[in-house]
């Protein structure tokens, strides 16, 4: 049976068929759906959300050492978080197969940077595979498990957004039941004390030689002979773009196993063709190594190393062809930036916070990052997961030292707090800055599409579990001033800010209300007095002051000619923020 699957769905299917036993991840676009799809196999596979990628890789490595076929998945920046155990896993090697998936995001569709994680495989000295479509993605999970067990190496599987989120046809197979390998205590392999690691480094270098031999032999790296005037070396999605442009007018060396590279195969291929192109997305990972081996090729001097590649760019870069395009005045098209949803509890929080003078707001990664956009403009920095609290701490230390009047407010989400905010908050306590940390607890990992986390009370596979209590954690970390507020009550928020600003010690404000799109859990129904409704503007009373419009609610529309606001009933969920900000009480609730 053939099914149309995304790369992520295909990987989950491939992992199931490959007989894996354990998988862990922290959600991150474009990798999120891998674990969501694996979670379905409750009988065969233990699938978990970890609080962060480092924990996910460490648990997968633990499961592998025990003897299970294991997998951890993350987006590209997640591997930065997991870099520590990733490098160590290169030394320990595995027992049961271990596949680590990094989903890079060329084009920054939803990321804070654009990094080419193929370099991690080389840096960490581990094997790497790169699929070009969903069928290959499925097949490669299984092959990667075998490579991992055969060569005693973790295998890095490098995907990109276009492989993760595009669908192509996949042949569905059966699960192979793979027994868990016996566990044997082995200090010389899993105990990375310096004396042991020293010996292991030698083994890692020997392993790389064997992996290079494999790279030259494996069918994952194959040649497709056509016209020999042009030869193309390519991997991943870039291979599909090269095929789209050149079809059978060029010969191809398609690389599916890309660390170490098959240098013998590359040399032979290069000798046979007249002009050699290396077509790759982002960095010249293959090209640099090909050139270092003394082989002449054309790559990044023609193909850009920024943003996502596509067939048009390959065609233009290598063949100099300009496409015929319809010409028109694009400048009249108005931007459509993402916004905080109608009824989002973060909107009220940022609306109130943005009124504070002499405040630096350090932000983080999640829906609430959008609080930095117009019209709220309530953010000064966004760096990476967990950095809001520590960057805020660094700033506050300087402010204290230089007797400045400013205050720092660090804003972080619930999932991000568990991810890496907790250690930063401990630093605030330990190194004594009086930052105000605000945990925007909307009861779910919202930005990636509603994944559970330690604070929701449920696991990935739907089991009820102990719910982590952010207020108690903050107190346990040494914060003495903790307050929980309902962000949809502006007076309550204002009082909380007044309270926090008056303290000479660090404080935590937990702004707690479920995401407007969340399907409420049993816990939520008990805790939150939630009543959906609709708000309406009395056109007679509206004075056109635009205060309600400046909350940035997508349900509110300002008619420039009539100079009046109105509310789109289809979008409004009745959060009543606009009612609270309207100075002339022109907005009221009109029932459900």
């Amino acid at each position: 049976m053939r099914k149309l699957l995304t790369g992520n769905e295909a990987i989950a299917l491939g992992a199931y068929e490959a007989g894996i036993h354990y998988a862990a991840a922290y959600p991150g676009t474009p990798s999120t759906e891998i674990l969501e799809n694996l979670a379905k196999y409750k009988e065969e596979i233990i699938a978990e959300w970890a609080p962060n990628e480092k924990v996910a890789v460490e648990s997968a490595l633990g499961a592998s050492i025990y003897g299970a076929r294991s997998l951890a998945a993350m987006k590209h920046v997640g591997l930065n978080v997991a870099a520590d155990p990733f490098f160590s896993s290169g030394y320990t090697g595995v027992n049961g197969g271990l596949v680590l998936i990094t989903a890079d995001d060329p084009g920054l569709h939803s990321s804070q940077n654009e990094q080419d994680n193929r370099y991690y495989a080389k840096f960490g000295k581990v094997a790497m595979v790169e699929p070009s479509d969903s069928q290959e993605a499925k097949n490669m999970v299984k092959i990667a498990m075998e490579i991992s067990e055969k060569f005693d190496t973790p295998v890095l599987m490098r995907l990109t957004t276009r492989v993760c989120h595009s669908k192509s046809l996949v042949e569905v197979g059966e699960r192979e039941e793979v027994p868990i390998r016996p566990y044997k205590k082995n200090l010389g392999k899993y105990y990375l004390a310096p004396a042991v690691a020293k010996q292991l480094h030698v083994k890692v270098e020997e392993r790389l030689k064997k992996l290079e031999e494999f790279s030259n032999e494996t069918d994952l790296n194959y040649v497709e002979w056509n016209d020999k005037k042009i030869g193309i070396i390519s991997s991943g999605i870039a291979f599909q773009y090269a095929k789209e442009v050149f079809k059978d007018k060029a010969s191809y060396l398609k690389l599916g196993f890309t660390n170490p590279l098959p240098m013998d195969k590359i040399k032979k291929f290069a000798e046979e063709v007249e002009t050699l192109y290396v077509v790759e997305e982002l960095e010249p990972f293959i090209e640099e190594q090909v050139k270092a081996a003394g082989i002449d090729c054309i790559g990044k001097d023609k193909i850009p190393n920024v943003w996502e590649l596509n067939p048009e760019i390959v065609e233009k870069s290598l063949l100099g062809k300009e496409r015929e395009v319809i010409e028109y005045d694009k400048s009249i098209v108005v931007n459509r930036p993402p916004t905080l949803c109608a009824g989002c509890p973060h909107r009220a929080f940022f609306y109130e916070l943005s009124k504070r003078k002499d405040t630096i707001i350090t932000g983080d990664i999640g829906c609430y990052t959008l609080g930095g956009a117009e019209p709220l403009n309530a953010m000064d920095t966004t760096i990476c997961m967990g950095a809001s609290i520590s960057a805020g701490h660094g700033m506050e230390r300087l402010i204290d030292g230089y007797d400045d009047n400013k205050r720092v407010v660090s804003v972080i989400g619930d999932s991000t707090f568990f991810h890496s905010g907790m250690t930063s908050l401990l630093d605030v306590v330990y190194n004594k800055s009086n930052t105000i940390t605000c945990v925007l607890d909307n009861r779910i990992t919202a930005m990636t599409g509603h994944q559970d986390h330690p604070g929701t009370g449920y696991t990935l596979q739907g089991e009820p579990t102990k719910m982590a209590n952010i207020a108690e954690i903050a107190k346990a970390l040494g914060i003495e001033h903790v307050k929980t507020v309902n962000p949809l009550e502006l007076k309550e928020l204002k009082a909380a800010f007044d309270w926090a600003y008056s303290l000479d010690e660090p404080s935590v404000i937990i702004s707690r209300w479920p995401c407007a799109l969340k399907r409420l859990s049993e816990y939520d129904k008990k805790e939150f007095d939630y009543k959906p409704g609709k708000c309406e503007v009395d056109q007679e009373k509206c004075i056109g002051c635009k205060i309600c419009v400046n909350t940035g609610c997508p349900a509110i529309y300002f008619d420039k000619e009539a100079k009046k606001s109105s509310i789109n009933a289809a979008q409004c969920v009745g959060c009543e923020l606009c009612m609270q900000v309207c100075p002339v009480k022109a907005i009221s609730e009109v029932g459900e």
Binding site: L4, H165, K167, S168, V333, R336, F558
Partner: protein, 191 residues
Amino acid sequence: MAETKSILLVGVGGQGTILASRILSEGLVEAGYDVKMSEIHGMAQRGGSVSTQVRYGDEVFSPIIGRGEADVLVSFEAMEALRWLEYLKPDGKVVVNNYKIPSAPILMGKEEYPEGVIDIIKNKADTSIINAAEIAEELGNMKVMNIVLLGALVEAMNLSDIDWEKTIKNNIKEKFIDINLEAFERGKNAI
């Protein structure tokens, strides 16, 4: 050999473009084509612009295209058609929903929704205008706008021979099947 065709579907987060693309892709697979589909959504569920690409033929390589390559552009919202018009082949077709969704800067009164969007498109390309919102409203559920547009697309691309009823049934919750099948027919007849 059937030449590879490229369909670009664009709209605003929440309009159901991805579901429509999914039904379209499954129908094409059933019809025996090689199919690739790509979703470019990023943070679109927060009200941003969404696009999906569906490519079909004997053997499809790239799941995405560049500018000047789409055989048909289906826009679920008027201004979005103009945003993506440069992706259309100069002799390609546009199927555009005559329905406006103001974006955040427009809602705030900072910018105006551009005037005459549909006329500009009509002057540049072979264009079919569909009042999908009106049709959906007549049917009693605004959410079926996406299936109205799918019907229009199927007619525009001469894909009527495929068993769309079956594919729609596979992808829609049972209690909404009838209204969606009707929406599909209305869309087909609207072009």
